[in-house]
Symmetry: C2
Subunit: 468 residues, 2 copies
């Protein structure tokens, strides 16, 4: 699909071995965690910011869409090359941790560093990078920044954006811009750093990331509490926080999720448990026991079926087993899963779960919910067998209903996964026309050929597997 | 300067009593904390978002510059009406706290609410709004958001931006946009909320603010430590944080500041003290004593001259006396003060202080430094008597040298005061051309008549007092 001269120019920029146009390679870069496939015209793997700058200038000159890609672990299609002449810009060669400044608690990394590798590297010197998306063993920091990834620890520590204090980016015309810097404060100019965070690769290519770190907490303590209702669990979340304890993690699973786990595993889940909270407190070791028992005291009147407090790391691991068994348990319900990540005000979680239960009943599709109760961030899992005629259509309607219900409660249709192509058709439900127009002027028209055409605002939805 | 029909249209929108064009009123709205004066053509005081929308549409139609204003307490001219046909948009009538949601720890306010009034209101129900700019008794939350205000507690709790999760804004054409919302997470669309924070009124008028709150800490404990060198004090800051204690406040004053205090007051400041840290820890009451003594232990080898730990609120108040006496003490040195708020990586504070001491000696102008050591945010106070010929010019050169030195150390020329007109001439030293171009396209050209022309990017510097 691409002119031969473009390919040869790309080869001149990055070297022949880093440009791929063979079908096998193109297929390898055609999909992500959404299970949708779009074949790119080429894949290029630059090794430096300068090379990326030259690629962007070339692409801009020839109006060729660029699709930046980290590990391809996103849930909304952020890395999918949705146009047939698209070039995937693979960023995994930029995988160096450039600096860990132990005195200032600041690190500088390239975008291709895997999240968990970075966490381990800073923990080795007693520091802490809190954002912990479920994909952390595979996802890259560049992707985390592009999507503004979250995770269980956000209730206490905030999301990816809260740790990003500076960036190096390459604009669509190939300009290299440094935003922010290694200082803890800074108010000179518009905050391009936070603008790029969560912009899903639609504004610029991220080539360097400056990250604020924290001291690594001494220790953590895990407890698991089973409740007889989702209301009790939600009330527990509010009561814990109001008691001035902010747990590092406040994960919940609803009754339907517990049913799946009970059916699929040998884990002990009492029949009358309709919700579970996994609570983790961290900080000064000698303080944690006291906090855990204070939490147990506070929530006692809220319909607690059972409280388990881990005394050892092994016991903590056992408590998490119930959460880790969810994915496998769900697969026994139905083979295909649509995972939406709505977020509502914390106190609205029970109302939202009830709405979702009704939607599930209305369409006759199993929907199970778990997620980050402390943030009101619910992972809504719509389980279908897409081979059964009509199921996909039902799922689409159910998703639209879930989003509508979320917005009624003052929520947002994405707490941490982003828009990409999966939620782009629905964005107009949440953002008004004036807001979308404002954003569109930020991602402005040519001559600058912005990356990621057809995402974020548009309604690209169809699969193009037939091009394979 | 304004056409009569414009004035009468403004009167139709807000009511006659809320449009001022008499000279006395214009003078009242001609200045802020920078001591520069610019006479507006009119002052208008809208009472609702709808009125602001209609004013913006009118101003856009007639290409009249709008200058939003809260309390006028800014240090960089953010609220100054720098063009002669400018209309000051006074926002103090929008002063309602609309909601404090105790369950979700979220408040909604109008922009004219005074910062301290809001803090007291949330503290009354056991909640906490940490940002604490020195102007908090007078400054408004709208101004705090526009400038992204900081304060002593930022080292632990972050800046204004970190608490703003949603806004209602009116664009230059009068569109009303809601950004973000009351959820703890949200990644749908570009983060307009954080883009508006710190944009100094140049992109839109803020009409509603959604604020994330924390539980109010149980108690706090204050200690004051005198060091024999600034290096010892800086090392102490790093050591405290590396020991996993993040104090709520880590304020410092340099040796020259202590000299002023010693000369001007009867406060006990030992002769060999060349730096002071005021350290405040907050949290669980029974934990604080332990933390204070652990801090005293950690910093003991770092040239400590004296450590004072407050055991009562009255003693804490006495420790703060040394900090509160600074302004009055400085006034005895020289009548005019230029207060710059540079920010460097924490570990670079001693290098920066040494650079500033050299600049002070070079120009023969007293420069004293204090500020937020935990953030590396130094308030550089350049003391002159502007009635002495040549002093102002020397101060201008010294300021440029201070900024150049800051940038050499990887710092920024403003940690919390903003750009406005005071730092606009220097912005090009910090931000590259590509970054400025990028920001300019965000604040794009007419037909949309953006508020605050001649600020942020340009070099309006002259006083126009002669117009008075």
């Amino acid at each position: 699909m691409l002119d031969k001269s473009i390919i040869s120019n790309l080869e001149k920029i990055v070297g022949k071995e880093y440009v791929q146009t063979d079908k096998t390679s193109l297929i390898c870069y055609s999909y992500d965690a959404t299970q949708r496939k779009f074949l790119p015209a080429a894949v290029v793997h630059p090794g430096t910011t300068q090379e990326i700058s030259r690629i962007m200038a070339l692409a801009n000159q020839h109006q060729i869409p660029i699709y930046p890609r980290g590990a391809g672990s996103g849930f909304t299609g952020g890395s999918l090359p949705t146009t047939s002449n698209g070039i995937v810009l693979g960023l995994t060669r930029l995988d160096r941790i450039l600096d860990i400044d132990e005195e200032n608690l600041v690190a500088t990394v390239e975008p291709g560093v895997v999240t968990e590798d970075f966490q381990k590297a800073v923990e080795k010197v007693g520091l802490f990078y809190p954002p912990d998306p479920a994909s952390l063993k595979m996802s890259t920091l560049g992707g985390n920044v592009a999507e503004c990834a979250g995770g269980p620890r956000c209730v206490k520590y905030g999301v990816t954006k809260d740790y990003i204090i500076g960036l190096e980016i390459v604009t669509p015309t190939g300009d290299i811009i440094t935003t922010g810097g290694p200082t803890m404060k800074g108010v000179v100019g518009y905050d391009l750093t936070k603008l790029i965070c969560g912009s899903e690769g639609t504004l610029a290519i991220i080539t360097k990331i400056i990250i604020k770190l924290l001291p690594l907490p001494d220790a953590k303590k895990t407890m698991l509490v089973l409740f007889d209702s989702i209301d009790g669990a939600a009330q527990a979340v509010s009561s814990i926080i109001r008691s001035k304890i902010i747990p590092a993690t406040l994960e919940f699973m609803d009754g339907r999720t517990l049913d799946c786990v009970r059916d699929a595993t040998s884990l002990q889940v009492p029949d009358n448990a309709r919700a579970v909270l996994i609570i983790e407190v961290d900080g000064d070791r000698e303080f944690l026991d006291k906090q855990a028992h204070r939490i147990a005291e506070i929530i006692k009147p809220l319909g607690v079926v059972e409280t388990r407090i881990a005394e050892t790391p092994a016991e903590s691991d056992a408590l998490w087993q119930i959460r880790r068994s969810v994915s496998a348990s769900l697969r026994r319900v139905n083979p295909d899963k649509f995972n939406e990540d709505i977020c509502v005000p914390r106190s609205k979680v029970p109302d939202m779960i009830r709405k979702i239960d009704k939607i599930s009943d209305k369409y006759g599709i199993p929907i199970v919910n778990f997620g980050h109760a402390g943030d009101g961030n619910i992972h809504v899992n719509i389980m279908i067998d897409s081979k059964i005629p009509g199921e996909q259509e039902k799922a689409d309607l159910a998703i639209a209903d879930v989003f509508a219900g979320t917005l009624e409660l003052g929520g947002t249709m994405s707490g941490e996964h982003g828009v990409g192509i999966m939620k782009a058709p629905f964005v107009g439900m949440e953002l008004g026309k004036a807001a979308i127009d404002y954003m569109k002027t930020i991602k402005r028209a040519p001559p600058q050929q912005y990356p990621q055409p057809g995402k974020f605002f548009s309604d690209v939805k169809q699969n193009i597997e037939d091009r394979l």
